[in-house]
C-alpha cells in the first residue's frame, strides 16, 4: 500500500478578518502542501494572494494581524484558531524556520544592518545561535544554489533587482524550511532572469521543499505546477491541475493574465529609429550619452574606491512624433530606466541633447520639464508619497481649486479609481497602486508620456485600463514612450519597437 506523505504544511482558513474590518479578507480556503510539490496561487489584484502568503509564512500573525478562524498543520503539529483571545500565539521566529517567505518587494526581506551578502544570508542563522562553521557551510551552499557565490562580499544595497530577489530567496531557504512561499517572484524579471528563477525553484522542489508561488500572471513556468489554486475576492474560485483550470476557463474570470501568444500586430519600421507616424516631432534625442558620476570621495585625503563608472547610454539618437507609441525593450540593467529619466530632466545627459516640442530641455529643472513630459516610475511606491489617493493625484496641480478638482476626477476616472479617492495609497493592492501612479501622470495632461515597465504588477482588468489610456492619449495627439521587458505587450501596442542593449539602440 502506498502511503501519502504527511503534508509539509496544511491550512484550513474558514475566515480571516483584518482588525477594524467586518468583511473577511480570506474565507473558505483549504490548502495542503506536500514535500517537493509546486503550488501556484493565482488571482487578480486584491484577490487576497499576498495576505494568504503572509499568513502562511508567519509574517501576518493571527491575533495582532487579524482574527483567524481555522487551523494550520505544520511539521505534524496542528494549531487551531477560533478568533478568540484564548487562541495560541505563533512564534514568528520558530515558524520562519519551517516556512520561508519572499515578499513581492525583495528588499523588504533584508535585515538592512548587514554589510555583505554573506552576512545577510547568515542573519537568520545567527539569531538561531548556529555555530560559525555550520553557518559558513550553509552560506556557501545557499550561495551556490541561488547563484550568489560571486557576490558574497558585495554590499546588499548595491545589488540589482534580480540579484536582490535571489538574495531574498537565499535568506528564506538558508535554514532549509519545509515550505517556501514567494509573492510575485516573476514580476519585472526579464526572460533570462525568469529562467534562472525557474531553475532555482525546480532545484528546491527536487530537494523536497514545498514551493508556493503567488502570481497574477499564469507564467509559462507555472504550467509545470502540480496544483493551481485560483482566488477571487479572498476565496477559492477553482482548484486543480493547470490543465483542468485552463479548460474550465477560470483564469479569465479571476482576472489572471495569460501571457499572450507571440503575434506581430503592426508592421515595424526599419532600423533608422525614425518615426512611424507622420505628425509634428514631439520628442527628439540627439546623440545622448550618459555616465553615472563616480562615488564621491568620503575623506579629504584617503579616497574610498567606488565602482567603475561605465557609460550607461552611448550616443542615442531618436525622434518620436505626436500620436506615436514607441516601445523600448531590452534585458534588465541595459539602461532603459536611465533613458526615460532623461526625457523629463531628472537626469541630464553627459553629452548630447534632449528636445521636447523642439525645445532643448538641458539645464531646465525637472519640475518645469514635467509639464510636457509625464513619467511613470518603474516602482509605483517610488512615485506615491501622499496620504490619500485624491491628494496624491492633486499634488502639483496648481492653486486653481476647480480646475484641479476636475483634473483629479478625470484622471481617477480614466484609470477606474474614482471610487477610492479617500483611501491611503499604501493600502491599495499593487495593481491599483500602479494605476494610481498612472493617474498622477495623466492629471497633468503631458504631451509626452514616458512609462517605465507599465505592465508589471497589473492584473487583467488593470492591463485593459492601461491599454485604453495609452490608446486614447495617442488619439489625442500625444506621444508615448514605454519601456518594457515584455516583448509580447510591446508588439501588441507599439507603432515602433527598438531594443536597448548595453546602452546602445538597435531596431528589432
Amino acid at each position: 500500500m502506498v502511503q501519502t506523505p504527511p503534508p509539509a504544511l496544511a491550512a484550513g482558513i474558514e475566515k480571516f478578518v483584518f482588525p477594524g474590518e467586518t468583511e473577511p479578507v480570506l474565507a473558505g480556503i483549504s490548502l495542503t502542501l506536500v514535500p517537493g510539490s509546486l503550488t501556484a496561487v493565482l488571482g487578480g489584484s486584491g484577490s487576497g494572494k499576498s495576505t494568504l502568503g503572509r499568513l502562511l509564512a508567519g509574517w501576518l500573525l493571527p491575533g495582532d494581524g487579524g482574527t483567524l478562524t481555522g487551523f494550520f498543520e505544520l511539521a505534524g503539529t496542528t494549531v487551531r484558531f477560533t478568533g478568540t483571545a484564548a487562541d495560541p500565539q505563533i512564534d514568528p521566529g520558530r515558524w520562519g524556520r519551517q516556512v520561508g517567505f519572499v515578499p513581492q518587494d525583495p528588499a523588504g526581506a533584508l535585515s538592512t544592518v548587514r554589510v555583505t551578502v554573506a552576512e545577510e544570508l547568515a542573519f537568520g542563522l545567527e539569531n538561531a545561535g548556529v555555530d560559525r562553521a555550520s553557518m559558513a557551510g550553509a552560506v556557501r551552499d545557499t550561495a551556490a544554489l541561488t547563484g550568489l557565490a560571486h557576490l558574497l562580499d558585495r554590499d546588499p544595497a548595491t545589488l540589482s533587482g534580480g540579484q536582490l530577489r535571489r538574495l531574498a530567496i537565499g535568506c528564506a531557504v538558508i535554514q532549509r524550511p519545509a515550505v517556501l512561499v514567494m509573492d510575485e517572484p516573476f514580476a519585472s524579471l526579464d526572460t533570462d532572469g525568469a529562467e534562472v528563477l525557474a531553475a532555482l525553484v525546480r532545484n528546491l522542489a527536487q530537494d523536497g521543499t514545498a514551493v508556493v508561488i503567488m502570481s497574477q500572471r499564469a507564467e509559462p513556468f507555472l504550467h509545470t505546477a502540480d496544483t493551481w489554486l485560483v482566488l477571487t475576492g479572498g476565496t477559492v474560485a477553482a482548484t486543480g491541475t493547470p490543465a483542468e483550470i485552463v479548460a474550465a476557463g477560470a483564469l479569465e474570470m479571476a482576472g489572471v493574465i495569460r501571457p499572450r501568444p507571440l503575434t506581430v500586430a503592426r508592421p515595424r519600421a526599419g532600423v533608422d529609429y525614425q518615426s512611424a507616424v507622420n505628425g509634428p516631432t514631439a520628442l527628439e534625442l540627439r546623440d545622448v550619452s550618459f555616465t553615472y558620476r563616480r562615488t564621491r570621495r568620503r575623506g579629504w585625503f584617503k579616497s574610498q574606491p567606488g565602482p567603475p563608472a561605465d557609460p550607461v547610454l552611448h550616443g542615442l539618437s531618436l525622434t518620436l512624433d505626436a500620436g506615436e507609441i514607441l516601445a523600448v525593450t531590452g534585458p534588465n540593467a541595459s539602461g532603459k530606466s536611465t533613458l526615460l529619466r532623461h526625457l523629463n530632466g531628472l537626469l541630464q545627459p553627459t553629452a548630447g541633447s534632449v528636445l521636447v516640442q523642439g525645445r532643448n530641455i538641458g539645464g531646465h529643472p525637472a519640475g518645469q520639464v514635467s509639464r510636457d513630459v509625464g513619467l511613470l516610475f518603474q516602482q509605483p511606491r517610488d512615485q506615491l508619497f501622499e496620504r490619500t489617493v485624491e491628494r496624491e493625484v492633486r499634488f502639483g496641480l496648481g492653486r486653481d481649486g476647480l480646475a484641479a478638482d476636475q483634473a483629479v476626477q478625470r484622471a481617477l476616472a480614466a484609470v477606474g479609481l474614482d471610487h477610492l479617492a479617500g483611501r491611503h495609497p499604501a493600502e491599495l493592492p499593487a495593481s491599483q497602486q500602479r494605476l494610481l501612479a498612472l493617474a498622477t501622470v495623466l492629471a497633468r495632461r503631458p504631451s509626452v508620456l514616458a512609462l517605465d515597465e507599465p505592465t508589471v504588477s497589473l492584473d487583467g482588468p488593470g492591463l485593459d485600463r492601461l491599454d485604453r489610456v495609452v490608446r486614447s492619449t495617442t488619439a489625442d495627439g500625444n506621444a508615448v514612450v514605454l519601456v518594457t521587458h515584455d516583448l509580447d505587450y510591446a508588439r501588441s501596442i507599439a507603432h515602433r519597437l527598438v531594443c536597448l542593449e548595453a546602452g546602445r539602440l538597435r531596431g528589432i
Binding site: D91, P92, G93, E126, N127, R132, G299, L346, G367, V441
Partner: protein, 247 residues
C-alpha cells in the same frame, strides 16, 4: 593591520582620560594635532571635523565668555565693563580648559568615526550584549544612507509632478518642507514591514545568538587594551593624589 574595535575604543577612551587628568598645555595640543592628523590619514576628516566643530565651537565660546570675563583670581586686567573684567589669567585658564576639552572630544570622535561598526556589532553580539542594542548600533551605519535615498526618491517623484527645485543646497533645503511628512510616513510604514521580516528571521528570539563575521584579535592587542585601561586608571589616581598637578 586593522585594529580590533575594542582596541581602538580603549585607545580613544584612555587617551581622553589621560589628557583630561594631565591638564597640561603641551599634552592637550599634541593630542589635538595627533587626532586631526590621524583623521586625515584615515580618511575620516571630512565627517569628523564638522561634527567636532558643532560640539566644540559653542563649548569653547562659553568657556571664554565665562572664565575670560569672570575670573576672580585674575590680577592683570586687560579691560573692564562694570563687574565684568577681562583678565590675562582668566583668558589663559579658559584657553587651557578649551584645549583640554577639545583634545578629549576630538580623540573620542576619532575613535567613533574610525571604528568598524560591523566589527563592533559582531564583537558585542558574541559577548552577550542585547541583540536589540546591537541592531540599533548597526543601524547607525545604514540608516542615514537609507533615509537619504528615500528622500531622493520622494524628491524625484515630486519633481516629476512639477515641483521646481532650484539647483544647489539652498534650493533643496527650501523644498524639504514638501518632503518631510511623506518621508516620515514612509519610514514609519517601512518600519512595520521590516519588523515582520526581522521577527520571521528569528530576530529578538530568546536564546544565544552567534556571529558570522570574524573579527581578528591578537594577544598583543589584548595586552594593549589592558595596559591602556591601567594607564587611564593610573592617570586618575595620580590626578586625585596631586590635585594641583599641571594646573
Amino acid at each position: 593591520m586593522r585594529l580590533h574595535p575594542l582596541t581602538s575604543l580603549a585607545a580613544a577612551g584612555s587617551t581622553a582620560v589621560i589628557t583630561t587628568a594631565a591638564a597640561s598645555w603641551p599634552v592637550s595640543l599634541t593630542v589635538i594635532a595627533a587626532a586631526v592628523g590621524l583623521s586625515f590619514a584615515q580618511g575620516a576628516a571630512r565627517r569628523m571635523l564638522p561634527a567636532a566643530a558643532v560640539i566644540l565651537v559653542p563649548l569653547v565660546l562659553s568657556l571664554l565668555a565665562l572664565h575670560g570675563l569672570f575670573f576672580p583670581e585674575g590680577t592683570t586686567v586687560l579691560a573692564q565693563w562694570g563687574p565684568a573684567r577681562v583678565t590675562a589669567q582668566g583668558l589663559q585658564f579658559a584657553l587651557e580648559r578649551a584645549a583640554q576639552l577639545s583634545a578629549a572630544v576630538l580623540v573620542l570622535l576619532l575613535g567613533s568615526f574610525t571604528v568598524s561598526v560591523p566589527d563592533l556589532v559582531a564583537v558585542l553580539s558574541t559577548r552577550g550584549v542585547n541583540a536589540r542594542f546591537a541592531f540599533v548600533l548597526a543601524s547607525t551605519l545604514t540608516l542615514l544612507p537609507a533615509i537619504s535615498s528615500r528622500l531622493e526618491r520622494i524628491r524625484q517623484a515630486q519633481e516629476a509632478r512639477g515641483l521646481v527645485i532650484r539647483p544647489g543646497i539652498p534650493g533643496r533645503v527650501a523644498a524639504f518642507r514638501w518632503q518631510a511628512v511623506p518621508l516620515l510616513l514612509s519610514l514609519v510604514e517601512e518600519a512595520g514591514t521590516r519588523a515582520a521580516a526581522l521577527q520571521a528571521r528569528g530576530f529578538g528570539s530568546a536564546g544565544p545568538i552567534t556571529s558570522y563575521r570574524q573579527v581578528l584579535d591578537s594577544p598583543v592587542q589584548r595586552w594593549a587594551r589592558v595596559v591602556l585601561l591601567l594607564a587611564a586608571l593610573a592617570a586618575i589616581v595620580f590626578r586625585l593624589w596631586q590635585p594641583t598637578a599641571g594646573a
